[in-house]
């Protein structure tokens, strides 16, 4: 009874909907069928220029490409279109819920028009960059791990550094997004310095670091070095960096080594 009354007082948002979709790391073979279906059914695609460029134009489809660093405006635009009854797909690379557009959309929905909260909003997951990178290298994230966005646009460096030290204490493998930009090249150098200090000399000699750039695209490259040999210049903004735990192993072979973290950890205090 009260539910029915609620339904009657909330304005019905025509047939509009908003999907926040992950396009995966780059290859078409990594786009899920449910994401392709949503794009085929959309009237509007909203996103950062290079991601919108991955969507094939067709009659009846409006493409709204915008520059980086306007995530909240873009999110509000998408919500407004859906509230007007349009079928909107916000495109992210990778997975939209990992350092991408989904949080921005919910942030805009919370701050914006109360009617936006009643919209049909769905998040469609995608293959996030760290999992594409891990797959290419072997299975470095096969045991407990953490994911850290190294961009300090959105949080203080002191917090990043504290998380790095705690992640070493917890012996997590680590995946880093946005390790390095032209605007802040020094952050990643500091990251490597903190990790070397926290891991010690022996740990830095043994622990592998994977630099995975543009995985699944024609620009793909992958490099595995010891933490002690890792250089800031090995990463750019298209690179995901994975740092092994103390248990991560490198299997030498003809060609690229395999890197994996065993599923099991020994009893605490064991040699």
């Amino acid at each position: 009874m009260s539910l029915a009354m609620n339904a009657a007082t909330v304005p019905t948002p025509a047939a509009g909907w908003l999907v926040i979709a992950g396009l995966g790391p780059g290859a078409e073979g990594c786009v899920t069928p449910e994401v392709s279906a949503a794009l085929a059914d959309a009237t509007d695609v909203v996103g950062y220029i290079p991601y919108v460029a991955r969507v094939a134009p067709r009659a009846g489809l409006r493409l709204h490409a915008s520059d980086n660093r306007v995530e909240l405006e873009r999110a509000a635009h998408a919500l407004r279109l859906a509230a007007e009854g349009r079928r909107v797909v916000v495109v992210s690379s990778g997975d939209p819920g990992v350092f991408a557009m989904a949080s921005a959309v919910f942030e805009a929905a919370e701050a914006g028009d109360a009617a936006w909260r009643q919209l049909d909003v769905r998040v469609l997951p995608g293959i996030t960059a760290m999992l594409a990178a891990a797959a290419r290298a072997g299975a470095p994230l096969g045991h407990d791990f953490c994911a850290i966005n190294l961009s300090d646009n959105l949080k203080p460096w002191t917090l990043v550094e504290r998380r790095l030290r705690l992640a070493v204490q917890a012996d997590f493998a680590m995946a880093f997004y946005n390790p390095r930009s032209l605007a802040r090249p020094e952050g990643f150098a500091r990251t490597l310095a903190v990790l070397r200090e926290a891991c010690g000399a022996a740990g830095s000699a043994a622990r592998p670091v994977i630099f995975a750039r543009a995985v699944s695209t024609p620009d793909e490259s992958l490099r595995v070095v010891a933490l002690q040999d890792a250089q800031p210049e090995m990463a750019d903004m298209r690179t995901v960096v994975i740092v092994g735990s103390s248990l991560t192993r490198v299997i030498a072979r003809a060609g690229r080594p395999w890197v994996y973290t065993p599923r099991s950890a020994p009893p605490e205090g064991a040699a």
Copy 2:
């Protein structure tokens, strides 16, 4: 020159290959095209019974289904088949690199026949359970987070507990795999107790916990409660549990709330 000599001394493994593929959380709409293509080209599919059951039988395809807890035997079997020249897909649910078969295959390859290391082994990523669960709830993993396998089959409980406490200190959102089994129902109760202690009473009242069961299947259910109200019985082995960070927000609305973690964190020491 030395490379050519190496190539001549290593036995060439016919045209066999081994793919370790992620089938995603359950729905066909979450299986990537590259995984479907590998399955279409395979001569043999190897995996845990319910995952092999997801592969349609066809002429010329051998299905090798095995029980749980025999991961290393299964991995060695798959490597042996590939070394014999077969085209083998090892199927995992979710992503094969996250608490699944990829680590077991590389572990078996490292311990086994030296020729296995020269095989063509590829890992094809999939939608892992925590990202499917996060997508359904909103964007709870939109800021830094960690993933912990709560099964203590493969590691000591003291290590799990230490990681939980450090993850709270780091203020990570957390995703838990394998939270609870019939064989060890007490582990998840202890997890909740450790988190409540580490977060304090105010933190436990504010912090959301998401119980996401069998996401994308007909058995899907999703429940959001405060940490203080979370009960061990809310999880089983088909459940992924996500615990928010101190910044995770719940947006009340008609129907299920949206849960998201903002992209940005305030300056350290801010109120």
